[in-house]
């Protein structure tokens, strides 16, 4: 396995809790999009509409193809700012 053909996958917040992990490295096997990673790592066939994804810290579409060295993140809708509005 080529060590550069690896991606980092991160989960945050309720998603990390429900899946039971926060970060993993995975080797890429051929052309892989973010949705493919989601399916493989969580066993869920589709990305729920409320789950957001980011590639290298930028929001992106789940059909985006990943590249070796990428950091891919999945997380629930963001809730920063003041408390309850």
């Amino acid at each position: 396995m080529n060590t550069t053909a690896v991606v980092t996958i991160k989960l945050f917040a309720s998603l990390a809790e429900s899946c039971g992990w926060r970060e993993r490295q995975r080797a890429l096997a051929g052309e892989t999009c973010i949705l493919d990673l989601w399916r493989t790592e969580t066993g869920q066939p589709e990305l729920p509409p409320r789950v957001l994804c980011a590639r290298n810290m930028a929001y992106c579409d789940a059909r985006t193809v990943v590249a070796p060295g990428d950091e891919i993140a999945f997380f629930p809708p963001v809730t920063g700012g003041s408390h309850a509005g």
């Binding site: 991160k10 945050f12 917040a13 309720s14 980011a54 810290m57 930028a58 929001y59 993140a73 997380f75 629930p76 809708p77 963001v78 809730t79 920063g80 700012g81 003041s82 408390h83 309850a84 509005g85």
Partner: protein, 156 residues
């Protein structure tokens, strides 16, 4: 346009005063300052809240706060802006977020400050988990902004 994410309590108005003093050498450079402070309440969605854990995505969060400031600076004639956001274990009464904007005139200070807060809530990766008497719950969405949203408690 500095942004910072803090895992310890901060005093928002001291931050404003300290930044203002080091940033504006000449008194009289700005005419308007608009400041918003979001504070942790001890009550939410009808339940007493004992505390909160604020999670973020180190790296992406800071990057998005910077982008939010740059967007506001492109849209309004601002002299400067400042964002401080708390993460980690938060107690009621603690400041969660500080947004401050300096400009020549008041209209842009008010508008940009509001916009920065709305933009921060919709784009910056932060997640809140409340500690209640009988468990914890993730805050599912922010309410009472430009468009009222809905919170979906998932007590457990």
């Amino acid at each position: 346009m500095p942004v910072s994410v803090r895992d310890v309590a901060f005093e928002p108005y001291s931050e404003v005063v300290a930044y203002q003093q080091q940033r504006f050498a000449s008194a009289g450079a700005f005419g308007a300052s608009a400041v918003f402070v979001g504070t942790m309440r001890d009550f939410n969605e009808g339940d007493a809240v004992r505390g909160m854990t604020l999670e973020h995505y180190p790296g992406m969060t800071e990057r998005h706060l910077e982008a939010i400031c740059q967007d506001a600076a492109a849209r309004w004639p601002l002299l400067d802006s400042l964002i401080v956001h708390r993460v980690g274990e938060v107690e009621p009464g603690d400041a969660i977020v500080l947004v401050a904007v300096w400009s020549a005139h008041r209209a842009e200070a008010f508008e940009a400050c509001r916009h920065l807060m709305e933009d921060l809530k919709s784009r910056a990766p932060f997640w809140k988990k409340e500690r209640l008497v009988d468990g914890t719950r993730w805050v599912a969405r922010n309410t009472a902004g430009y468009t009222a949203g809905q919170s979906e408690p998932t007590k457990g």
